[in-house]
């Protein structure tokens, strides 16, 4: 991932008003995590041990007045499904979920299993999502998904394919 593409993700988060991020890193987004961890991003990053824990930390941060983003891998989404389902369907709390989309065009590895699991999992948890395939859509989509999630009090996700991150 090029530095300027990672910057776009962080810029989108900042323009969306995100001030708190929690996640577990993955190779595709590692530059994003590193940027978030540096304090100049203005976003407080908390590294969790498990994506389900990360979802819980986001829920607490939201209840405390923060605007959190859950930044997780497609693998991590599967780990976090129970907690995201509780948060979205039972508590109805808006998590902004940002996921680099493994297994789509541009991915140097064939990881097609995530094509089978990611969108069906989000649908099952009733989390609306957008797939971003062009880098010029990154910032706008993060902002719109965040704004909608907060207005609806429902979670929303953005999936970034490798095509958008090249």
């Amino acid at each position: 991932m090029k530095e300027e593409k990672a910057k776009l993700i962080v810029q989108g988060m900042k323009e969306a008003g995100v001030d708190f991020a929690v996640g577990v890193p993955d190779a595709q987004f590692i530059e994003v995590y590193k940027m978030l961890e540096r304090s100049e991003s203005g976003i407080r990053y908390v590294g969790a041990a498990n994506e389900a824990e990360a979802a819980g930390i986001c829920m607490g941060a939201w209840a405390g007045g923060k605007k959190p983003a859950l930044v997780i891998a497609t693998s991590g989404l599967l780990v976090a499904t129970y907690h995201i389902a509780r948060i979205n369907l039972l508590h109805e709390i808006p998590l902004l979920i940002l996921i680099p989309y493994r297994g789509d065009l541009g991915d140097p590895r064939w990881l097609g299993m995530y094509q089978k699991t990611t969108e069906p999992a989000l649908k099952a948890m009733d989390v609306p999502y957008r797939v971003v395939r062009r880098s010029e859509d990154v910032v706008r989509t993060i902002k719109e998904c965040h704004e909608s999630a907060r207005a609806w009090l429902r979670s929303a996700a953005v999936l970034f394919t490798e095509e958008a991150l090249w």
Binding site: F20, V22, R44, V46, G47, A48, A49, N50, A52, E53, A54, A55, G56, I57, C58, M59, G60, A61, W62, A63, G64, G65, K66, P68, Y82, H83, R86, L90, H91, E92, I93, P94, E147, R150, A151, W152, L153
Partner: protein
């Protein structure tokens, strides 16, 4: 052995009105919700999520005291969260773990199934080895009250593992309805908005026509 309800009664006597309390699912939520009418409660937080939710709250509101009412089976699902708590070092966070060595110990008239702490595992030592210096284990009401008071009056993070009876044989009268997760969310968020001057419930139109 001391009961969960006996300890919750002690807690109700010492916790300040503006201390935020996050309760895990099961009888911890059920009993705490009967004990005290207070706005500063988040209920029904499921397995593996109680300590993380309290942690997120504590990080968001560093000037507010936050207490997690966690339980052995609940915490075991996300044990790594103790390492995160240690590293983030939120001074305002106290984690109480009601450790009955049991899953669903409280559910029926007999104990449920043994957890790892009902066997060889020691959660206070796990917390300490996770990097939480203030971690202790108590097994009676007086020690519990004293540790809770000390934790609420000093910098954390603190972990208090309370060894309790496997079965909840004393339980409160059901005197009120515990708000469901959505009602609880609205009331809690409004309370935080009012007392902290932050906007939580968002900019929806409030108009579904």
């Amino acid at each position: 052995m001391v009961s969960r309800y006996a300890l919750l009664k002690k807690l109700a006597g010492v916790v300040a009105d503006d201390t935020l309390v996050v309760a895990c699912i099961g009888n911890t939520t059920a009993f705490w919700g009967q004990l005290k009418e207070r706005e500063a409660n988040l209920f029904h937080v499921t397995l593996g999520m109680c300590t993380p939710v309290a942690h997120g709250l504590a990080l968001a509101l560093p000037k507010r005291k936050v207490v997690a009412l966690d339980a052995d089976g609940n915490l075991l699902l996300n044990l790594g969260s103790l390492g995160t708590v240690a590293n983030e070092a939120a001074k305002n966070l106290t984690i109480i773990v009601f450790d009955n060595g049991n899953y669903l110990g409280s559910h029926k008239k007999e104990p449920g199934m043994r957890t790892a702490t009902g066997g060889k595992m020691n959660l206070a030592k796990v917390a300490e080895a996770s990097g939480i210096d203030s971690a202790c284990m108590v097994d009676d009401a007086e020690a519990f009250e004293q540790k809770v008071k000390a934790a609420l009056g000093s910098n954390g993070p603190h972990v208090i593992v309370a060894k309790i009876a496997a079965l909840d044989d004393d339980r409160p009268e059901k005197s009120r309805r515990i708000p469901d997760p959505r009602q609880n969310k609205y009331e809690f968020a409004k309370y935080i908005e009012r007392t902290e001057g932050v906007a939580i419930l968002g900019g929806g139109l409030g108009n579904f026509g």
